[in-house]
């Protein structure tokens, strides 16, 4: 039985630009790659190389110290510098800069592929950590921790291929082209995490991927993987909403998916785990969609992590129109880029260059007419318009009653507001006010 989540919005998906474009490699490898040390939600990694060292493809260049994840070189060449470089999340961060020598020498000390039949949980967690796999859907949460924590405590494993962000098709292409690997890996994960049910969740506009996966499922015997396609609605791909849709359970406030016996992995993460386990390849490449009305030839690319976004854009023929908004991570929750020199990180699933006809022209916020669309759209059951009003009145006690900490900044309220009131900003501002005033603990 498929459940549903409350609220949500229906943005125009505009995935047609790249839906039929297979994942292709860059014809012109990047001259230099930049691997930021901040690539994991919990903090920076520790570099293992120093300027002047020569590196090969797949060679670890950073490791997990106190925080962070392992990073590997995605090209062969020489480490040029470890210096501050722009980061796609904004600002500068330390990064390892590697000059490409175009020889693509493979790393000799590569990890050996593991036999799925003799795999143990400890091996799995260790290998995933060594391969530097983090949540590739945008969370950048350390995957090995999630695996270790949820082993034996979950009954449903959800492979998130929903990709509810408009424009982005990277996960769709990955599921379509590498479905077999993903399914096999999902199967192995299910065995080791001890869950009965594995669900691959896609949206209704990705039926050809569903068909491809079902064909493979029929060939694989005795699998417990199930694929469901759900009517496209943003934000289906958000963790809490996808759990609610698949199982009908709601993650309690302040809780994690473990509280409802679920674990959610992005489909790209599962593919990276597959490569790490059965090929011995660390996470060095990922699928990125370069799209948007301003891009000359929108494509899905299979790119080395660390490639500057500028190279991606050049591989797609550059801009054909002026773009005033370039984003990574999709137009709904994505971050507007400050600099095109920022590299592809482990969570960069897209580069979207919007022209001014694709988004609504910026108009000053109007007055709230109390239409209630934001309340009906909020998947986290918040009343954004009341929050905004309480913020305007500086009524901190009232703000404390609205459970602001539940907001996942999905942006449905701002999207739907006919008066174009920036409600997400109001809610995050209200959270800041509440934290400062110290009420609501």
């Amino acid at each position: 039985m498929i459940h549903s989540f409350f609220g949500g919005v229906y943005p125009a998906t505009r995935k047609g630009n790249t839906r039929r474009k297979p994942l292709s490699r860059l014809s012109q490898p990047p001259k230099e790659i930049v691997i930021p040390l901040i690539m994991c939600a919990d903090g920076p990694s520790t570099p293992m190389v120093s300027p002047g060292d020569s590196v090969t493809v797949g060679q670890p260049v950073a490791r997990r110290g106190e925080t962070g994840a392992a990073a590997h070189s995605s090209v062969s060449g020489r480490v040029a510098a470890i210096e501050k470089r722009p980061h796609p999340w904004g600002g500068l961060s330390s990064a390892i800069v590697i000059h490409n020598d175009d020889r693509n020498e493979l790393y000799q000390g590569r990890l050996a592929p593991l036999d799925p039949r003799q795999l143990t949980l400890e091996q799995l967690v260790e290998r995933v950590e060594a391969a530097g796999v983090v949540g590739m859907g945008g969370g950048c949460f350390p995957t090995w921790e999630k695996l270790a924590r949820s082993a034996g405590k979950i009954d449903t494993l959800i492979i998130n291929a929903a990709e509810c962000e408009p424009y982005v098709t990277a996960d769709y292409r990955l599921l379509l082209e590498r479905g077999e690997h993903i399914l096999r890996c999902a199967q192995v994960l299910a065995v080791h995490l001890g869950c009965e049910r594995v669900v691959v969740v896609t949206e209704g506009d990705k039926l050809s991927a569903v068909e491809a996966v079902e064909r493979r499922l029929r060939r694989l015997h005795r699998v417990r993987v199930q694929i469901i396609a759900i009517r496209t609605r943003y934000p289906l791909g958000a963790e809490k909403q996808i759990i609610q849709t698949v199982t009908g359970r709601e993650v309690p406030p302040g809780g994690s998916p473990l509280h409802v016996k679920c674990a959610v992995f992005n489909v790209a993460t599962v593919f990276a785990i597959h490569d790490a386990l059965f090929q011995g390849w660390p996470l060095t490449h990922r699928a990125v969609t370069v799209t948007g009305g301003a891009v000359t030839r929108p494509r899905n690319l299979w790119v080395p992590i660390g490639t500057p976004l500028r190279s991606l854009l050049e591989a797609c023929g550059g801009l054909r129109e002026a773009s005033d908004r370039m984003l990574t991570g999709g137009p709904m929750m994505g971050v507007a880029l400050q600099n095109l020199d920022a590299p592809v990180t482990k969570d960069t699933n897209s580069l979207v260059c919007l022209t001014d006809w694709e988004h609504k022209p910026e108009t000053p916020a109007g007055v709230c007419i109390r239409c209630g669309k934001c309340v009906a759209a909020c998947p986290m059951h918040l009343p954004p318009t009341f929050i905004r009003r309480a913020l305007e009145e500086h009524d901190v006690e009232k703000l404390a009653k609205y459970h602001l900490e539940d907001c996942n900044s999905c942006g449905c309220c701002s999207f739907i507001c006919p008066a174009q009131i920036p409600l997400v900003e109001a809610v995050s501002l209200a959270r800041a006010v509440l934290r400062r005033e110290g009420v609501g603990k």
Binding site: V251, G255, M332, N339, M380, H381, I416, P418
Partner: protein, 552 residues
């Protein structure tokens, strides 16, 4: 290509294409079929009324915003929607000053005094219309459809609306098909159910409104109409008439869904719809007016603040049980903070100041207390007087009941008489003497109320005596006799034995009415009463100069 961008806006970078202005425009588009149908039915006067209404709404808004030096908000088109809705909810025969007056009230008092768009708590168009509805000659003059009026003269042919038939518990003469098309009496906009539903479909498709309010509203009305159909009428047909008759569809689709004056929260919207439905049913069934949609919506508009709080979405991740528990716990803590605080009464004896007489301090105290309590007492007295006066003036029900009782007694005592009239005659022993007339105004006789002593106390009875001195009927007005013992003598059979008798009725012997066994005392009392009445009528001196002074 520059390498630097400044993010202009935080996420989301995409916005849905609709704006407030587009929503208002969609409302106008959704009203267009209704407007077209109204023009078809009532002629071009409809267009003129709409134009007057819209223009005056725009003008009043412009005027107010100008005078108060606020930004000009004509561009959001909300005043246009108000004007169009106001015009369409008037009858086609309304004079041109009515929409102007309604627009002034709607825009200035209801909308702008509260701060303009999004701040008002009552629907401006509906309030303007209800104000016009308080003028009685306006809102009872429903025009017959297809009787198209000229722009200037109003020669309205009044038609009864279907609601007035339904109010009486009968079906209107129009068939359901005509109701759907709108060939019936009513406001300009409300007649054609089909066109209104077309508008609803458009609004839903464009996601301007959600189905929650109209669905809950119409659903509630339909549900209760199904069970309240009068006998002999199919419940389904009755429901269809209830839904399509009157302004229900227009109210549910265009007035109740006004975003500003309906709740924000989805649950609140459903409660709002149900509340509108219940109030509509209440007003339709038990108010003297056939229609109650407008008042129902206005009443619920005033409750929106409450529904907004009640309807807040449950917190994500909390089950209904946990939420209820948390709510109860919170209520318990709020209730436990309520404490009874003893009022501090510190009465100080006034101390006389220097140069005052010994009792003067007390007088001062009395004076100050009087100053405090005086206005209160005055207000109390005026209120009591007003309530008493209103009660006396409006105590028609009691008077009507008394009149009914009198007629009942007359019809028992004098079955032939249809009209009873108080006579100025007085006689010893008679409580009142009423003259009975037939339909043509001929005097038939007199009905005398007398009292006689029964077993348990006085028995008051009315005795009808015709002009020949014969009893036409006996009716017991009040008594204190024992139930089923004394009352055996008061059965209709026992009382009819007196009919036709004249002279002095005895208990035995000639011209006698036997006592009823077991109720001897009561029988004797009734017989005595009848005798006294006969005696009074026989000695009634009708020739004498009538003395209107109450000599008793």
């Amino acid at each position: 290509m520059s390498g630097r961008f400044a993010p202009k806006r935080l996420s989301p970078q995409l916005r849905q294409p609709s704006t407030t202005r587009a929503m208002m425009l969609d409302m106008m588009v959704a009203l267009t079929p209704t407007l077209g149908m109204a023009v078809f039915f009532f002629g071009s006067r409809v267009l003129a009324l709409c134009a007057v209404s819209i223009v005056s709404c725009l003008l009043f808004e412009l005027l107010y915003r100008r005078l108060t030096r606020q930004s000009i908000t004509l561009g959001d088109l909300s005043a246009c929607v108000t004007g169009l809705l106001l015009a369409l909810s008037l009858p086609a025969s309304a004079p041109y000053w009515v929409p102007v007056m309604g627009a002034a009230f709607a825009i200035i008092v209801v909308k702008q005094f509260y701060g303009g768009l999004g701040k008002n708590f009552m629907n401006p168009a509906l309030t303007g219309r209800m104000l016009a509805g308080t003028l009685p000659m306006l809102m009872t003059n429903w025009t017959v459809p297809l009787h198209r009026m000229s722009l200037t003269s109003v020669d309205a042919v009044s038609a009864a609306t279907p609601m007035s038939y339904l109010h009486e518990g009968t079906l209107p003469p129009q068939g359901l098909d005509l109701m759907l098309l709108g060939q019936r009496g009513g406001c300009m906009g409300e007649v054609s159910a089909f066109m209104l539903l077309l508008g609803l479909g458009y609004l839903l498709l464009r996601r301007v409104i959600s189905f929650r309010i109209p669905g809950a509203y119409l659903g509630t009305v339909a549900l209760f109409a199904l069970f309240s159909a009068p006998s002999g009428v199919s419940p389904l047909v009755w429901t269809a008439y209830q839904l399509m008759g009157g302004g229900l569809l227009m109210g549910a689709i265009f007035f109740a869904t006004d975003p500003t004056t309906s709740p924000v929260t989805p649950r609140g919207q459903i409660m709002f719809g149900v509340g509108c439905g219940l109030f509509t049913l209440l007003l339709r069934s038990s108010s003297p007016y056939p229609e109650g949609v407008g008042w129902a919506i206005l009443t619920m508009n005033c409750m929106v603040w409450l529904l907004d709080r009640l309807g807040l979405p449950r917190r994500f991740g909390m089950g209904n049980f946990a939420v209820t528990q948390a709510f109860l716990a919170q209520m318990h803590t709020s209730l436990s903070t309520i404490q009874f605080v003893r009022p501090t009464l510190n009465f100080q004896r006034p101390t006389s100041k220097e140069g005052q007489a010994p009792g003067e301090a007390w007088l001062d105290l009395l004076r100050s207390a009087g100053k405090t309590a005086g206005p209160f007492a005055g207000v109390l007295a005026v209120t009591c007087l007003t309530i008493f006066a209103v009660h006396r003036l409006t105590d028609l029900d009691t008077a009507r009941a008394g009149f009914q009782a009198q007629r009942e007694i007359l019809s028992q005592a004098m079955p032939l008489a249809t009209v009873g009239a108080e006579t100025p005659y007085h006689a010893a022993g008679a409580l009142s003497i009423t003259a009975g007339y037939d339909e043509d105004g001929n005097l038939l006789g007199y009905c005398v109320q007398v009292q006689s002593q029964g077993f348990g106390g006085p028995v008051t009875l009315a005795v009808g005596v015709d002009l020949n001195g014969a009893v036409t009927g006996v009716s017991i007005v009040s008594h204190n006799e024992t139930d089923r013992v004394g009352t055996a003598a008061m059965t209709p059979e026992a009382l009819t034995r007196y009919v036709g008798r004249s002279g002095t009725i005895r208990v035995s012997g000639p011209n006698s009415v036997d006592t009823v066994a077991g109720a001897t005392a009561t029988s004797k009392a009734i017989t005595a009463g009848v005798n006294r009445a006969l005696n009074i009528v026989a000695n009634l001196d009708t020739k004498e100069e009538v003395n209107y002074e109450d000599s008793q």
